[in-house]
Symmetry: C2
Subunit: 209 residues, 2 copies
């Protein structure tokens, strides 16, 4: 499954690899990869495979789930599809409270004791997932884990999840994607090495650009 989804992400350019002409992320860091999984919304066949991928992850790792939470904004469409496929209630978690109104981070209704899976488009340093998981816990529900389309597989992300004892699972990942890009003839072995060296040390890699 991770191979098929990696292929999809490359085919529709949800993920782009440019090891020789890096992207500048919003953090200011240079990186050889850019990911916009939101574009998967616009490809019904791709998103159907993603929905099935999420359902497989959840049935395997979090079968006791009772509610789905999407991270605003990018995680909401996939959370909606997964919730509908599983016939479960859905909420979403704002990145910050509304300026007016109840100041709640959670939209929709969670029940106390709900067992929640957080749906995320992308795991980088884990910040958005961890923020959402905390909000769900503060609302009195349990968080079984985070399910995401893709992870860069950065040490910083893994450490952040470990530090708050939060489990996460992804449909595909950086390693599978880079391997598929080589198989598809889109990058050379040298470019593959550049990508892998970025993953090992993204800050050092950026500074050398």
């Amino acid at each position: 499954m991770n191979k098929q989804i990696a292929n999809h992400l490359l085919s529709i350019e949800a993920v782009s690899l440019k090891p020789e002409a890096p992207f500048t992320w919003s953090s200011g860091l240079k990186a050889p990869i850019y990911c916009d999984n939101r574009v998967t919304m616009s490809y019904p066949d791709v998103r159907r495979d993603l929905i099935l991928g999420f359902v497989k992850l959840i049935n395997t790792h979090y079968p006791e789930v009772t509610a789905i939470a999407g991270t605003a904004t990018a995680g909401i469409p996939h959370a909606a599809w997964v919730a509908e496929e599983l016939g479960l209630p859905m909420v979403y978690v704002r990145s910050k409270p509304k300026e007016h109104g109840k100041k709640s981070l959670i939209e929709g209704r969670l029940k106390k004791g709900d067992r929640v899976v957080v749906i995320e488009d992308l795991i980088s340093t884990g910040g958005s997932s961890i923020h959402a998981a905390k909000a769900v816990k503060e609302a009195g529900a349990h968080v079984l884990g985070v399910a995401a389309i893709f992870t860069y597989g950065l040490a910083k992300g893994k450490e952040a999840f470990d530090a708050c004892e939060l489990d996460y699972q992804t449909i595909t990942d950086f390693k599978a994607l880079v391997t598929e890009a080589v198989n598809r003839g889109e990058i050379t072995a040298n470019e593959q090495n550049l990508l892998l060296s970025w993953q090992q040390d993204p800050i050092g890699w950026s500074q050398q650009q």
Copy 2:
């Protein structure tokens, strides 16, 4: 259908009526009604009926649709469900551009010439729907119209849509909702009159509170 959905919205308190103890809206205006259609996400049976309601609206009024656009944030989950039910591409429209990146209002991919229906949770003064429709047009696509769960039926909203020649359709509306609330014994005839007088002149009504 509008009666069934009005009943759903009252049952789960997505819409609340308090003619004797008005709500204060984020605009500062007092109103006898408050609507949070986002809570429908958390009720699988209700949202399924909403999805079918949207599909019926679209098949009747906009059968030539080729893509679905949700208004961020509240319109995104319903847009996702409708797009999946119809097997169509989906995008969503931000209320303002991201601080970083491409400055685009549209997330996901629209094709030039796409015939788009905008999905909205609620129509009040029409601002959010009209903003989304403009963004879709600026991206080179056509807007067939806006489909929403509910409208307050305010003159200001109707005038705003008319002024930009934008069609809209809703699954249910203020009049159907108030009628159902009377039938359910939730409000008296006198409270019904208070609600209808608000709809005729919401600013004057607010000033008298």
